[in-house]
């Protein structure tokens, strides 16, 4: 009777899968790795917090509805961030679940009895994603707890912060593994475009080494990427078009899909926020149009004459029409709005269904990384080639030859600002170059005078310290 009773008493949830009987089929493994990608889509990461770092980096202001709208981003951009800033909390809450989901795959998939190639690929994807998430965290927060296995009550849930050097070594190890086990882009079917590739792993690893100043490794990896078939799109604008997503220039994109009912808010979003959030307010140019992320005059004036990227990136008075509509500077506080990620109403007919992917890593970035690294290695002349490739596509002349290392560095960093504008890259350059001093000087030069050394790292959210008192706060907060 007891045995009968035991069966009688087993009731598993009917609306979710039990960890006990999952991880059996190939499909299970695929679904699990799909889940590890998903936090990338969140507003906590690439749907909002990552691109709003351009506001903090001095390219733009929040704009939006004025007043308290986007207050947390305003505080970040004014460098009055406090430990309860919701945007900062998001940057903790975004990557951590991605790391857990990657860890779940890395722990469970190796023991599965499935196709070995698929298994290797999935573990490679997981390692790429885990490294990606940790790379985000370590740059924003410095030392963070390094957790490499799924946890349960009973485990040490309150670890101290791991030295960032150790975190970086893990990131490098993961990406190195991923680079060998992931297929190249062309080996994926159409349906799988958007998954992590060998090129994405190599490119991201190059970026990690760039952040660490390991220049030769940057150059080597950039060359490796070049052998994998990546090249610049002919048109800069094709990097931000629905019709040309996952293009030959794209190493990695966060995938979005339109269509009503695919989710928009919170963690369910399958659709991109960008067009809606950055569309000019009250303009009727796009579905939505909340006027976020308005480029500053200083930024817009930084375009060299003839830079084709300006018309793609910014809406300005006298610029080309968008979807047959003329821009009015009254739409914006600065007189400018962001254009790069807008989609026409024929593509997204409602605020919640823009399908436009978000670029995380483009070949142009790889070329600029290579240029910067070669320059730092003293090979300034060699560095001109990759830099000019990017300028050429932007309709700009080659840079003058024979620049000093310092002048070339300034050129390449400027080029990065214009080429990668509003793609969430500028802040990482600000904190990276000369250990942040270059970035602070820049911020002060454009009037962001509150910025100080402590702001190069964000505070650990107070909520997290409350839950884990073993975490020490970053200096100055």
């Amino acid at each position: 009777m007891t045995a009968c009773g035991e069966d009688f008493l087993i009731k598993a949830p009917l609306d979710s899968i039990n960890t006990e009987n999952f991880f059996e089929t190939e499909q299970d493994a695929i679904y699990a790795i799909n889940g590890a990608y998903q936090p990338l889509q969140w507003p906590k990461l690439y749907n909002m917090r990552m691109w709003t770092t351009d506001i903090m980096a001095g390219n733009s202001i929040v704009g939006a509805g004025g007043g308290d709208d986007g207050r947390e981003t305003q505080d970040l951009a004014n460098f009055v961030t406090t430990t309860d800033n919701p945007g900062v909390l998001d940057l903790f809450r975004g990557p951590a679940p991605g790391i857990l989901r990657s860890n779940v795959v890395i722990e469970n998939v190796p023991g599965m009895d499935i196709d070995e190639d698929l298994k290797e690929r999935i573990i490679g994807e997981a390692k790429f994603l885990r490294a990606h998430y940790y790379f985000i965290m370590v740059r924003f927060f410095g030392d963070v707890p390094l957790i490499l296995e799924p946890q349960e009550p009973g485990d040490d849930l309150r670890p101290s912060r791991t030295n960032k050097e150790e975190v970086y070594q893990q990131i490098i190890a993961d990406l190195t593994d991923a680079k060998t086990s992931l297929p190249v882009k062309s080996e994926y079917s159409d349906a799988d475009q958007g998954r992590a590739t060998r090129g994405a792993a190599a490119g991201l690893l190059a970026k990690v080494y760039l952040a660490r100043g390991e220049w030769q490794k940057v150059v080597d990896l950039a060359d490796e990427v070049a052998t994998l078939g990546y090249e610049l799109n002919d048109n800069y604008g094709d990097n931000f078009q629905v019709s040309t997503e996952n293009s030959k220039e794209s190493l990695f994109e966060v995938q979005y899909v339109g269509g009503a009912g695919e989710g928009f808010w919170d963690n369910e979003n399958q659709a991109s926020w960008l067009s809606t959030f950055t569309g000019p307010r009250n303009s009727n140019m796009v579905a939505g149009g909340w006027g976020w992320n308005q480029p500053t005059e200083e930024f817009v004036n930084s375009y060299e004459d003839g830079d084709l990227r300006k018309d793609v990136t910014v809406l300005y008075e006298g610029g080309p029409d968008f979807d047959g509509m003329q821009y009015d500077p009254a739409y914006s506080v600065t007189g400018y709005n962001l254009r790069k990620f807008l989609v026409t109403k024929s593509i997204a007919d409602a605020y919640d269904n823009s399908p436009l992917n978000f670029p995380v890593l483009r070949y142009a970035d790889v070329l600029l990384m290579k240029a910067e690294a070669l320059n730092e290695l003293g090979q300034t002349a060699d560095a001109e080639t990759p830099l000019n490739a990017v300028r050429d596509r932007a309709g700009l002349p080659d840079i003058e030859s024979g620049l000093s290392k310092e002048d070339f560095r300034a050129k390449v960093l400027h080029e990065r600002r214009m080429e990668l504008a509003f793609e969430g890259q500028r802040w990482f350059d600000i904190i990276r170059v000369e250990d942040g001093q270059w970035g602070l000087d820049f911020l002060h030069s454009i009037g962001r005078v509150n910025a100080s050394e402590k702001h190069l790292l964000l505070p650990i959210p107070q909520k997290e310290i409350d839950a884990n008192p073993n975490l020490e706060q970053n200096t100055g907060y």
């Binding site: 009731k11 889940g35 707890p145």
Partner: protein, 1112 residues
């Protein structure tokens, strides 16, 4: 008096329930009360017997006589056992002759009354006074109980004499009464004695009511019954006549104040169940007691029951009583028993009442011109432009009284019809009822249709089958009413525009507010919930051996409910709704139950009474729901999901639980003096993780009936005194169905514009989660004095909850949600309290006065939350959480700032700790704002200056009922109250905030306006720069109240009036609920829910009703 009477009158009469049990005692009474019996018929004592028995016990002889004659014997076991075996030989002798011979050498005597033979100690036989044959009137009549069933064996005595008779099987009596006799006394054990003046009547029919406090009252204790005298635990009992005439629609409301230690908090919303809390809050989680309806543990609310069908309600309070319900016993158990039929008597009962309901109170709000004046001041103080429409406030007049618009007096009809009866083998009780209650809020209401069908059938000699079946259909309906919005809507806004459409605020929200027309929302939107509920059980009971019974019960509970919400498109401000909208959901919950109970009852050596119960129980539930919604209908006439055109959404889910249990109970009683009860239950629940499925919940209790000790014999005024003590362990398994599961959720990602499924962990798993545990110690005594005229019960308890589920603090770095966190068994809580119940028959006789009184004290404290971080609770929106659960405090104590009067001038502001600083005079603390105490004296008023401000749970709950009867009249006045709790009057945060354009109470007329104004009411200033509306003691009020809860005044029409209509009983009554409340609370009503927050609640209603109750 002893209890060990045996009924041997054949299986049938034994099975006939209470009436016979009471009767045998009554017959014994006949003898001790010592008056002459004058049975009308006496044929059976002349029946001839043929009998030959040698060396047999008297019991065996009696059995044989019964077998031959159909006579029923009544005797006391103990006395017969002391008699030596006898030999009897009879050939054609009468029963009288045989019995006389048989008992000749004993100290027993006998009497034959009708078909009943009573054997009693000879010493108690008294002289028989012959009845005078002169000047006598024949008086006859019928005695029935409150259900209209005849009561046999009632002694009918002529007052002041020792002359009388007893009623026969049909409750009839007849008696020769001397001319000058004024009064008859009707008495019967277990029932209240009645005296009736004759006034020359020759036909006197009497209805007798059960005496509630009798020690013989049968108490349902879970998988069995016990007599009250044998109880060792703490159990309160509420009988049907205590709730019958109350002007409340639901059983839960009717329970209010009826039992010590049981707090019932009503709400006025039609169809909603009251909240029941037994002995305080035992957990920060689910505090609802387990409900058992006719043996079926259920989650269905009490609301589906028709209170006319309820026979009794027992409330098991201490752990020695509740431990038999194991992992579900921790919050107490409410056991409901519905009425059943009685063999041999059929009757029909019809009851109807008509009631009117109204709000107990309205808030005094300012009128239009007062509001405009205040609003102008509010804008001026904030340096903002005033509303031009308010430039001449006086011209605006009174304006709209939104409370008048939303609330009205509402009727309620309550009708039920039942018939019951039965033959020797089968009995039945069938009832149908309709309740139609309109709510005092426009377009709200509740309708309920209820059928009850209970039957018992003796299929074979030793096999009995029976069933209980409750069917209800109910319908709750309402518009999108919002009591809070109604209080806040501006008096300057009309209800309707000139064209008849609903008016709305048009213009700047800071001038006209943004509240949607409360009358419009309550009118055009249609929310209904229709419920279909079945609670049924079928049982078979087999007598296996003498004293050994087996009962198997199969139960089914099926609940179906359908929600529907329809909103047409409308265009009134401030938020026009361009699309019509329909939402429908369908929910189904099915629970089955199978209980098997073996009961063995035996007396050894006359002094050892043993009852053993062993049982198993299995229960399983599945809940399914589906819902769908759609927008944009071409026509409002096609309100079907198929007819909508846009934003179609669909949802659905299911969940399951199961419970498997083994239980046992031993009652041992030595010599009626020493009582021991031990219970144990082993529960296995699907809600616990695999390593943790089974829990054991034991209890033990003892009682000592001191009054049975020899040394107590001389204490005449004490009938019974019993000391009790018990300890037990129970659990609370209401932890959600799947708290243990390490789940993976199915979500979505996409690659290259195609959506793909993804499977991810979201909530930290907690596979070791288990039930919350509770240990409870109870000591108490029951005392009965002065021939049962005074009953006192006192209990004291200590409840310690451990393993209380508290939210786990999950670091974000784990990757699991820090918002959706698992609960872990890490909290602890304590409750201790004292309960006193007193029942007193103050005056007996023609005029009677009874008083029942109870009072209980409870003290609650959270002793551990695992983390010492307090939990913020009581969300009022916008992250405004004014309550806390914190270690060392009672649950949900209010938390906030302490106010300290008003600043009279800017200098006082400067001299005080910094509140809201600034250079802008319009956005900083200014004169007329509230000064808050700087509790930590750091010169800044901030979060650290908050403290605990009050406890929403009362220290004392009490009630008193006084009941008077005189002839056919009865009057009861029921008072009920609580003391020592605080209420957070959240309505005032808006309606006394004077910070935005919402209506204000008249208390704000006393606001600060200039230096020197001596008032507590701060200045009116738009946007409230000083945050005068912050959570503070400003909103905390004393929630104590004393309420005239119910008054019932009834009249039973005299038998001679109603007989011709074929009625046995006819009663008309007037009844009122919530008649008047004594309280210092400023809100609408102090009964505001367990969390003590008064925020736009549906008001408790005052109900007056007129009813008639007829038995045929």
């Amino acid at each position: 008096m002893k209890k060990m009477w045996n009924c041997t009158g054949g299986e049938n009469s034994c099975a006939r329930k209470r009436i016979f049990r009471i009767m045998k005692l009554s017959l014994f009474f006949v003898t001790v009360l010592t008056f002459q019996l004058s049975a009308v018929t006496g044929w059976s004592q002349n029946e001839k017997l043929n009998l030959k028995m040698e060396n047999s016990s008297i019991t065996e002889v009696i059995h044989s006589i019964e077998a031959q004659t159909g006579l029923s014997f009544f005797y006391q076991n103990e006395q017969l056992k002391s008699v030596a075996p006898v030999s009897v030989e009879a050939e054609g002798e009468t029963v009288t002759e045989v019995l006389t011979g048989m008992l000749a050498n004993t100290d027993l005597d006998f009497r034959i009354i009708d078909k009943h033979v009573v054997i009693f100690p000879a010493g108690e036989k008294k002289s028989e006074l012959p009845l005078s044959q002169q000047d006598e009137l024949p008086v006859r009549g019928k005695v029935v109980d409150s259900d209209g069933n005849p009561v046999p064996g009632v002694t009918v005595q002529i007052k002041g004499t020792q002359t009388g008779t007893i009623t026969d099987m049909d409750g009839n009596y007849s008696l020769q009464v001397p001319d000058d006799a004024a009064t008859l006394i009707f008495s019967f054990i277990g029932m209240q004695t009645r005296q009736v003046m004759l006034d020359g009547q020759t036909e006197v029919d009497v209805t007798m009511k059960e005496a509630v406090l009798g020690l013989d009252e049968v108490i349902v204790v879970g998988y069995g019954t016990q007599q009250k005298r044998d109880l060792t635990g703490s159990v309160s009992s509420v009988s049907d006549d205590e709730i019958a005439s109350l002007a409340v629609p639901s059983v839960s409301d009717a329970l209010q104040g009826k039992a010590a230690g049981v707090q019932v908090i009503s709400t006025g919303a039609p169809g909603s169940d009251a909240t029941i809390r037994i002995r305080g809050l035992g957990t920060i989680n689910d505090n609802n007691p387990l409900l058992v309806i006719d043996g079926v543990p259920t989650k269905s609310g009490l609301n589906l029951l028709n209170k006319d069908n309820i026979k009794s309600i027992q409330i098991l309070k201490d752990a020695s009583a509740t431990a038999i319900y194991g992992s579900r016993g921790a919050n107490g158990v409410v056991i409901i028993t519905t009425k059943r039929g009685t063999s041999g008597q059929s009757n029909i009962n019809v009851r109807y009442s008509y009631s009117t309901q109204e709000a107990t109170n309205n808030l005094d709000m300012v009128n239009a011109s007062q509001f405009a004046t205040m609003h102008n001041e509010m804008m001026a103080n904030a340096g903002r432009e005033q509303n031009p429409a308010f430039s001449d406030p006086a011209s605006l007049g009174v304006g709209t009284d939104w409370q008048d618009q939303l609330f009205s007096i509402a009727p309620m009809h309550d009708m039920s019809v039942s018939y019951s009866g039965g033959s020797e083998k089968t009995s039945y009780y069938v009832s149908g009822s309709i309740l139609d209650q309109e709510g005092i809020v426009m377009n709200t209401g509740f309708k309920r249709f209820n059928l009850q069908f209970n039957s018992d059938s003796k299929v074979f000699d030793k096999v009995k089958f029976g069933n209980s079946l409750t069917l209800t259909h109910d319908k709750k309906y309402s518009g999108a009413y919002d009591v809070g919005s109604t209080l806040r809507a501006l008096p300057t806004q009309p209800v309707y525009n000139e064209d008849g459409t609903y008016a709305g605020p048009v213009g700047r929200p800071e001038w006209v507010g943004d509240i949607r027309n409360p009358v419009g929302s309550a009118s055009v939107i249609d929310n209904t919930t229709k419920g279909y509920n079945v609670i049924g059980s079928v049982f078979a009971e087999i007598d296996i051996l003498d004293g050994l019974k087996f009962k198997s019960t199969g139960g089914l509970e099926a609940n179906f409910w359908y929600d529907r919400s329809w909103s047409p498109a409308y265009d009134w401000e401030p938020t026009p709704e361009p699309d019509s909208y329909l939402y429908q959901s369908s929910n189904r919950s099915i629970t089955w139950l199978w209980d098997n109970i073996l009961t063995y009852k035996k007396t050894f050596n006359s002094v050892h009474d043993l009852t053993v119960m062993l049982g198993t129980s299995a229960q399983e539930n599945r809940f399914d729901f589906m819902n769908g919604s759609i927008k944009e209908f071409a026509s409002d006439k096609t309100q079907q999901l198929d007819s909508g055109n846009d934003e179609q959404e669909i949802g659905g889910n299911a969940s399951e639980w199961s419970l498997m249990s083994y239980m046992g109970r031993v009652n041992y009683d030595f010599s009626d003096k020493y009582l021991v009860t031990a219970t144990v239950r082993r529960d296995g629940s699907s809600r616990f993780g695999s390593g943790n499925k089974w829990g054991i919940f034991p209890s033990g209790s003892v009682a000592w009936r001191i009054s049975e000790e020899n040394f107590f014999n001389n204490v005449d005024f004490v009938d019974d005194l019993k000391l009790r003590a018990g300890i037990g362990y129970t659990g609370n398994q209401e932890i959600g169905n799947y708290a243990f599961a390490s789940n993976l959720s199915i979500i979505k990602y996409n690659f290259n514009n195609s959506v793909v499924p993804a499977v991810v962990p979201i909530v930290m798993p907690n596979p070791i989660v288990q039930w919350e545990s509770q240990e409870q110690i109870n000591i108490g005594f029951d005392a009965t004095f002065l021939s049962q005229r005074l009953n006192i019960t006192v209990d004291a308890y200590q409840k310690n909850t451990s393993d209380m589920l508290v939210p786990m603090s999950v670091p974000i770095s784990t990757g699991y949600s820090d918002i959706y966190v698992p609960s872990i068994n890490a909290g602890e809580m304590e409750n201790r309290g004292i309960e006193l119940s007193v029942g007193s028959r103050n005056i007996e006789g023609d005029f009677t006065w009874d008083t029942d009184f109870n009072i209980s004290y409870n003290e609650n404290k959270v002793t551990s939350l695992n983390d010492s971080v307090p939990m913020a609770t009581g969300n009022l929106g916008f992250d405004f959480q004014p309550s806390r659960i914190a270690e060392g405090h009672a649950v949900n104590e209010f938390y906030g700032y302490v106010s300290d009067g008003l600043f009279q001038n800017q200098q006082e502001v400067e001299n005080h700790a910094v509140q809201i600083p600034g250079n802008d005079p319009y956005s900083r603390t200014s004169a007329g704002d509230i000064r808050y105490r700087d509790l930590n004296s750091d010169g800044v008023i901030n979060d650290a200056d908050r403290t605990y401000l009050g406890n929403p749970s009362p220290d004392l709950i009490f009630s008193m009922n006084n009941k008077f009867t005189w002839r056919g009249f009865d009057l009861s006045v029921f008072l009920q109250g609580v003391k020592g709790n605080e209420i957070l009057n959240a309505n005032r945060i808006w309606s006394e905030g004077m910070a935005v354009a919402v209506n204000q109470t008249t208390a704000t007329l006393d606001r600060w306006q200039q230096e020197g104004d001596m008032t507590d009411m701060p200045r009116a200033v738009f946007n409230d720069p000083n945050k005068n509306t912050r959570a503070s003691d400003r909103w905390i009020e004393d929630g104590s109240y004393l309420r005239i809860k119910n008054i019932v005044f009834g009249y039973n029409l005299p038998g001679r009036w109603i007989e011709r209509a074929g009625m046995q009983q006819a009663r008309v009554y007037f009844s009122g609920a919530n008649i008047y409340t004594f309280t210092n609370y400023d809100g609408v009503d102090p009964e505001v829910g367990a969390n003590g927050i008064d925020n736009g609640l549906y008001p408790v209603t005052r109900t007056l009703s007129l009813g008639v109750n007829i038995t045929f």
